[in-house]
């Protein structure tokens, strides 16, 4: 490939909220829903929808448990998600260098 094709940017990641989620999750082993909500500044419904999309793509895994009888969901990047994020950043850098 000689010319950079922006359409090769991963559509799943190429959204502000999902990109923020991926950027956060790359820095941690796992993070709870409430932590992501505070950092991403999204509503429960909006964040849940984007997390579901990342989960369906196999980029994010979720672990649901009860803490003090309250449900808590911990999210983590999968190996596939980590690779996709690295590729996404690599392509952005390639675009700037062009």
């Amino acid at each position: 490939m000689t010319d950079f094709d922006y359409q090769q940017l991963d559509d799943i990641i190429h959204s502000r909220i999902r990109l923020a989620i991926m950027s956060l999750l790359i820095t941690v082993d796992e993070a709870e829903f409430t932590f992501l909500r505070e950092k991403v500044h999204a509503t429960d419904g909006n964040l849940g929808m984007h997390l579901k999309k990342l989960e369906d793509a196999g980029y994010v895994s979720v672990k649901k448990e009860f803490v003090k009888r309250k449900p808590a969901s911990a999210y983590a990047l999968t190996q596939m998600g980590r690779k996709a994020f690295e590729l996404y950043v690599e392509r952005l850098e390639h675009m700037i260098r062009r």
Binding site: Y6, T27, V28, K68, L92
Partner: protein, 200 residues
């Protein structure tokens, strides 16, 4: 997508990652508690030697170190209940300090009993171990001051090994205040500010 957009996108990623790192930082309470306990022990030891106050050194340190461990275990249990994220770096730093604490506890209590080390040597050896802890912590959290403080701990250890004396207690106390309690207070203030900004 134009290159300018790509730059904005990368800048956004960096900002989110940097923001997440500030959330990861320690609350500094452990540094303050352990530092204060050790300074209390060191000053008491100095007064005991310098002014001839009779005290049970083993009992003194058993109480202080015991209090430190009780605090650490309690704090860790609380953290596990309320922690909303975990990091690989955090686990490394936690394990490192746990290891350093165990080593210093063993050296501090067993070497005077067994004669494995001269009693005065416990302080510079502890200083060397603490230096390792600060170096690795500084590298993991990418904090220059923490990394450089390792040099302070090692320089102090060299001075103490070359010129042993009662002043060791005061020098170690001063090092503990400069390289541990003050950074601990700084961390605690940052952590409080972060908590307030998040409305917790």
């Amino acid at each position: 997508m134009e290159p300018i957009d790509a730059q904005q996108e990368l800048a956004f990623i960096r900002k989110v990652m940097a923001d997440s790192r500030t959330a990861i930082s320690d609350d500094g309470k452990g540094l303050i508690v352990w530092g204060t306990l050790v300074v209390a022990g060191m000053v008491t030891m100095y007064a005991s030697f310098q002014f001839g106050y009779p005290i049970s050194k083993t009992l003194l340190w058993a109480v202080l170190i015991g209090l430190g461990w009780v605090y650490t275990i309690f704090h860790e249990m609380q953290n596990r209940k309320t922690k909303r994220f975990s990091t690989f770096g955090g686990r490394i730093v936690g394990s490192l300090w746990l290891g350093c604490g165990v080593v210093m506890t063993i050296v501090g209590f067993l070497s005077p009993m067994t004669g494995a080390l001269k009693p005065w040597a416990i302080i510079p050896v502890s200083s060397l171990v603490i230096g390792i802890g600060y170096l690795v912590t500084g590298v993991v959290y990418d904090d220059r001051w923490t990394r450089f403080s390792a040099l302070g701990w090692w320089a102090g250890a060299i001075v103490m090994m070359l010129w042993p004396g009662y002043y060791l207690f005061l020098l170690f106390s001063a090092m503990m205040i400069i390289f541990q309690i003050v950074p601990g207070v700084r961390l605690y203030q940052q952590w409080r500010l972060h908590q307030t900004s998040e409305g917790r």
